[in-house]
Symmetry: C2
Subunit: 328 residues, 2 copies
DNA sequence: ATAAAACAATAATAAATTCTTATACTGTAT
DNA sequence: ATACAGTATAAGAATTTATTATTGTTTTAT
């Protein structure tokens, strides 16, 4: 055996956990189908390596020391993580994950939930699908509480992540169809004197994007209403107001907004990307297949429906062409 | 060797990672000070156990397969977690953690940050101290991103946590000193007609507590302002208003509020506990020592200062007596 | 109190494993 | 084609891990 900086092996931890559970070494030995002596040696070796006393032998049944309790915590984490790793490998091998935890951004959930669900039914034993803001999903993906997310954002830091663009869409101005269209950023500010601007909360990605856009144009729009959800923004506009939103956010709200139109922004154009992100290599070709499916659905179904909402801007939506994957 | 459901040992993972890093088995062998043959055997054994091909040998240098990439992710997690476990045990042994990540609830941070910092300087190599809402700290503690938190709340679910009460304080009514004191819950509702009630956001624990309290009394107070922070609530009161808060929240805001008083609630009393929570067994006697220090500081310094803010209610604050610890 | 029972530690030995050496094989480059 | 660096495999040596047998504890029953 080579010298190792690793202080123990999983086998030793397994034995240790079994002793913790039975509270006796003899019991653990029976359970594991080996002799009590072997257990005793493993535990004593573990104690020597770690330089720590794990059990208090001055009583029967033997008791865990504070160090033992601490090691137990870590041992549980390590062994379950090890088993999980092996399960993941089997899943990758068979191409059919046992449990797939998916996060999808609110503003795409109506548009993509049906094809996503259909796909997952085929390709995963079980699925959990959560809607919400991309920020929290992103953290969950990194923290391994999620396996795949559909969200907004350019593919900033790519630490071990794989990222596909599903669709690129413009930000648009949602504005009463009856009123004259503001012919520039300045006009927008003037109109804002009597027509309130409805904001996306800056806690959401889309809100931050819009805020940055307005700041770049040096526009200070007054507002009193602010929403987390596309639906909130749109419905507030109907009660009198205007907003910057996107075609998909409009679709998300359901029915068309009467007497309102979506139009290109009066200033320079702004766009956002909606992407599918997974941890690299963990799901084999499943992400690629899913991207293909979702893009197809976006082209076939979503773009069609969008013509009703944003006739002018549907043509600015871009769904990337699908190429063959790198890995066979 | 006993038969094991664990699919590999940490030693094998270490070898595997070394091969990943060098991209050649021979290089990994040199690095590890063993022969290339041994490496080859370990890898091949690992592949057989997992039923997976980890490297693509049809090229030089050999390449990671998708399965290999996946295993690499998990292997990194496992080996770092294993090393961390050993470090934790050493820390517990020596009683001086290398890095202690502490979360403290906003409403105690002024009161306790000084003695907390002094303590940590002595008892930890490095410390990270974050202020914020207990909810997120609690999750971080469970997720092992934090090691110790000072927060609000009774010790609900005790899954592997150790919990000490630092202090118990009453909820009080912050009310103009010049006006007649409301002599019952009903009076409060009448006064609310012309004096606004300032709310703690229901996202915070304290806000939820207050909301529950009012609901129990069937009081429907009108409000238009709502804050996350004790300071926000208090300063809003100064501009005209009343609120339910706690003595420590008042202290947190700094100076005394002129022409205002803190008084017992007109209805039945309500209290909250502020507690110190750690994962059980991981920090030895450090939490106990810290509790002792903090309680002492609360008695000696904080209760004194509170008499200026809430002369009537300081006597209702309770700092539990400190007993000897269970473990030597 | 004493004996019995159940458990844990240790020494010596057997079994299994993991290394090394030696050699044959494979992919890449000159 | 041949050399070269790398990889796989067989066989034996070294090391590790388990077993048996025995002794020493702690608890429980008499």
């Amino acid at each position: 055996m080579i010298s190792s900086d690793l202080p123990f092996d999983l086998h030793a931890l397994k034995v240790f956990l079994q002793v913790c559970e039975h509270t006796t070494m003899a019991g653990a030995a029976r359970r594991l189908g080996i002799t009590q002596s072997a257990i005793s040696q493993v535990i004593s070796d573990l104690e020597h390596r770690l330089g720590v006393v794990l059990f208090d032998r001055s009583m029967r049944p033997i008791g865990l020391t504070a160090s033992g309790a601490l090691l137990r915590e870590h041992a549980l984490i390590l062994t379950t993580e090890a088993r999980r790793a092996s399960i993941r490998l089997q899943e990758l091998q068979r191409g059919r994950p046992n449990l797939l935890r998916v996060g999808i951004i609110d503003s795409l959930s109506r548009a993509l939930l049906p094809p996503l669900t259909r796909f997952l039914r085929e390709r995963a034993e079980r699925s959990v699908i959560l809607s919400g803001p991309t920020e929290s999903h992103y953290a969950a993906l990194l923290g391994r509480q999620m396996d795949l997310i559909v969200g907004a954002g350019d593919l900033e830091d790519m630490n071990g992540l794989e990222c596909w663009v599903l669709l690129e869409e413009p930000y648009v101005l949602l504005y009463p169809a009856t009123k004259p269209y503001p012919d520039g950023p300045k006009a927008l500010q003037e109109i804002n004197q009597y027509m309130p601007f409805i904001r996306f909360s800056a806690r959401s990605r889309i809100g931050q994007d819009i805020e940055r856009y307005l700041r770049r144009l040096r526009l200070e729009l007054r507002y009193s209403l602010e929403f987390d959800s596309p639906f909130g923004v749109t419905s507030a506009c109907m009660d009198g107001g205007m907003a910057i939103t996107t075609p998909l956010c409009m679709l998300e709200c359901g029915e068309a907004v009467p007497h309102f139109r979506c139009m290109a922004l009066p200033g320079p154009p702004a766009r956002r990307q909606l992407t599918l992100i997974v941890r690299k290599g963990e799901l084999g070709r499943l992400p690629f297949d899913l991207v293909q499916t979702l893009r197809q659905h976006l082209r076939d179904s979503v773009l069609q429906r969008l013509r009703h909402f944003c006739p002018d801007d549907a043509k600015f939506l871009k769904v990337p062409a699908t190429r063959v994957p790198d890995h066979g």
